[in-house]
């Protein structure tokens, strides 16, 4: 704080100093923001450009790769939709993701409620155990799970993923939901119970609606995890018709040594943009869930 005895000239100089610093700060901020956006989005810009180029344009190392040296074409995008199983992969990813999300909520919401609200002696250790389960990676389990899937007769079927993917989504979703639940005041159910509802009634009528925004964030997050999973999908499934996007695109759009580069890049864009868009809508809520789950002990 400038001392009250400081002269007016001092104050003015200080103010100019801070103003200059503020302007520099703003410029720096914009430069870093634009740079970060460019680095992160560069591969996607490159995808978009590539996906719409003619072969003759693309496969000429002397052409400027950032410009259209020949008119753009939609042929390779059409090829992706018409002549490859991309739509099948996308549909498989979608329905597997939706079913996995439903299973995740059906298991996760009651479990989170039990741990966060029902004050059992084992609540805290159980919360920690769930967190540990989240950290057991697919790369450790895929071999034994592949035997489990074979034993159940689900090999080469997309249903194997519906069965196994909740092992990834349930722990992390429960962890996030515990956070959202802890952020809701306890008085809410207690009030409802005073009003004559049972514990279960109070939960269904007061907590579930209040938990809705958090639930949506969990849905988006769980779906993103499911869509990104690679190692299980690669291990369990080989027929084209049963594959999901994350394994189908890299394996089926490559014939031997021939890569359908434009179509591959189009597939990337058509999957990446919608997921990122939806994710962005719920980012703020996801952040708050992340803190609460961790912070409020």
């Amino acid at each position: 704080m400038a001392a009250p005895t400081a002269s007016i000239g001092d104050n003015a100089r200080l103010r100019r100093h801070y103003a200059r610093r503020a302007v520099l700060g703003r410029v720096g901020l914009y430069v870093v923001a634009v740079l970060a956006a460019l680095v992160c989005a560069m591969p996607f810009v490159w995808s978009t450009l590539t996906a719409t180029k003619l072969n003759a344009d693309l496969y000429n190392p002397d052409n400027n790769p950032f410009l259209y040296n020949q008119p753009p074409t939609a042929d390779h995008v059409m090829f992706l939709f018409k002549n490859t199983a991309f739509m099948t992969f996308a549909w498989n990813t979608l329905w597997v993701g939706l079913l996995v999300v439903l299973i995740t909520l059906a298991l996760g919401i009651p479990a989170a409620y039990s741990i966060a609200r029902l004050n059992r002696p084992w609540s805290t250790p159980m919360g920690i155990a769930i967190f540990f389960v989240y950290l057991v990676p697919p790369s450790l389990l895929f071999l034994s799970l592949s035997r489990v899937v074979v034993a159940l007769g689900l090999q080469d079927s997309t249903w194997s993923l519906v069965l196994i993917y909740p092992t990834i989504t349930v722990p992390v979703s429960t962890w996030l939901l515990i956070g959202f639940l802890k952020a809701l005041p306890r008085d809410i159910e207690e009030q409802a119970m005073v009003d004559g509802y049972s514990r279960l009634g109070a939960m269904l009528r007061t907590i579930l609606p209040l938990l809705f925004p958090g639930t949506v964030a969990v849905v988006v997050f769980a779906f993103t995890l499911t869509a990104s999973e690679f190692i299980y999908a690669l291990t369990f499934i080989s027929p084209t018709q049963e594959k999901v996007v994350s394994t189908g695109v890299p394996t089926e759009l490559v014939r031997g040594d021939v890569f359908f580069w434009q179509s591959l890049q189009a597939a990337n864009i058509f999957v990446a943009i919608p997921i990122a868009f939806v994710f962005n809508l719920f980012l703020a809520r996801f952040i708050s869930g992340f803190t609460m789950g961790a912070v409020k002990g």
């Binding site: 009651p110 769930i130 790369s139 450790l140 799970l145 869509a227 690679f230 994350s246 990446a272 980012l283």
Partner: protein
């Protein structure tokens, strides 16, 4: 925990109606948790012990009957230099990626918590690497690093820095660098999101106070923000490490472990041996090496997370 301890005696003294409610709480707590616990025990805990059992067996894809072979698989895995190469690569990739992820993640977190015009679009673009399925973004990187048509090479050629293409994925050192770059690129947004949580949780008046006391940007950064958000920086670092450590999609798609196994990691080598090669026993041994380190990381994350409570 503390709340629970103080709650329990009070409940016991309550009579009649409230007592039944407490009973019902116990029943609900149990019935709510059982499905999740059963599911996790069946599909995570049992397969985990199964993986350990496989490590001591001669189970193959072709002959799944279980015969105990003791340490035979371990002996064969250790005798293969590719295993040691994978172990070393896994560590090198993880440590380097983690450091870069933390530094860039911190910068990105500060940008994303600041106020500026066009923030929404910047946030959207910045999150793309993380929300895109890793297999698809790896394909795009494969194309970006193509031996003939890489635009990076084109720029370097045009500027005059190189005469011939770099063959990013064809030379061991460059291939390792490429794998690290893709990991850093895709995990920095996640680290930034976690660190944003830390920055947003610092009380505004604290920043204001240090500003009024004349602390400049760097001083505030190193003496206020970083110390206060250290636990979440640690969480971000460890998540970055875990995801790099256990991932095989990037290596599998970008280099398939090559050239000559110079980018092979534990996860991809375990897959190559266990699924592609059909030798499940050996694959299990290789994957088991992931576990002690993950356990250590998990304990560290939890300890860091506990510390977040203190402010």
């Amino acid at each position: 925990m503390a709340e629970m301890v103080s709650d329990a005696p009070a409940r016991q003294t309550l009579a009649g109606a409230r007592q039944r409610l407490a009973d019902r709480d116990g029943f609900l707590a149990w019935i709510f948790l059982v499905p999740t616990v059963v599911y996790i025990v069946v599909l995570v805990a049992i397969p985990f012990f199964l993986a350990i059992a496989f490590a001591f067996s001669d189970v193959t894809a072709g002959n799944p009957s279980y015969d105990w072979v003791g340490l035979e698989n371990f002996r064969r895995v250790f005798a293969d230099p590719v295993f040691w190469q994978s172990l070393r690569n896994t560590f090198v990739f993880t440590v380097i990626s983690m450091l870069l992820i933390v530094v860039f993640g911190k910068v990105l977190a500060m940008v994303l918590t600041a106020d500026f015009k066009g923030k929404w679009i910047v946030r959207f673009l910045v999150l793309l690497p993380w929300t895109t399925p890793v297999a698809l973004s790896s394909i795009t990187w494969l194309w970006l690093l193509h031996s003939i048509y890489s635009p990076i090479d084109w720029v370097l050629r045009t500027v005059g820095l190189i005469d011939d293409n770099s063959y990013f994925l064809g030379r061991p050192a460059l291939a390792m660098g490429s794998v690290i770059a893709v990991h850093v690129w895709r995990l920095v947004p996640l680290a930034a999101v976690i660190m944003m949580v830390g920055i947003l949780s610092i009380p505004d008046d604290l920043i204001e106070a240090s500003r009024i006391d004349g602390a400049g940007f760097w001083r505030r950064l190193f003496e206020v923000t970083i110390p206060l958000t250290f636990p979440l920086i640690a969480v971000a670092a460890l998540f970055g490490a875990i995801f790099t450590f256990t991932d095989m999609a990037v290596v599998y798609i970008l280099t398939a472990g090559g050239p000559t196994n110079s980018t092979q990691v534990l996860a991809s080598w375990s897959f190559t041996r266990g699924i592609a090669g059909g030798d499940i026993g050996q694959g299990a041994v290789i994957a088991l090496f992931l576990f002690p380190l993950l356990l250590a990381a998990a304990v560290l994350i939890l300890r860091a997370v506990r510390k977040v409570e203190t402010f």
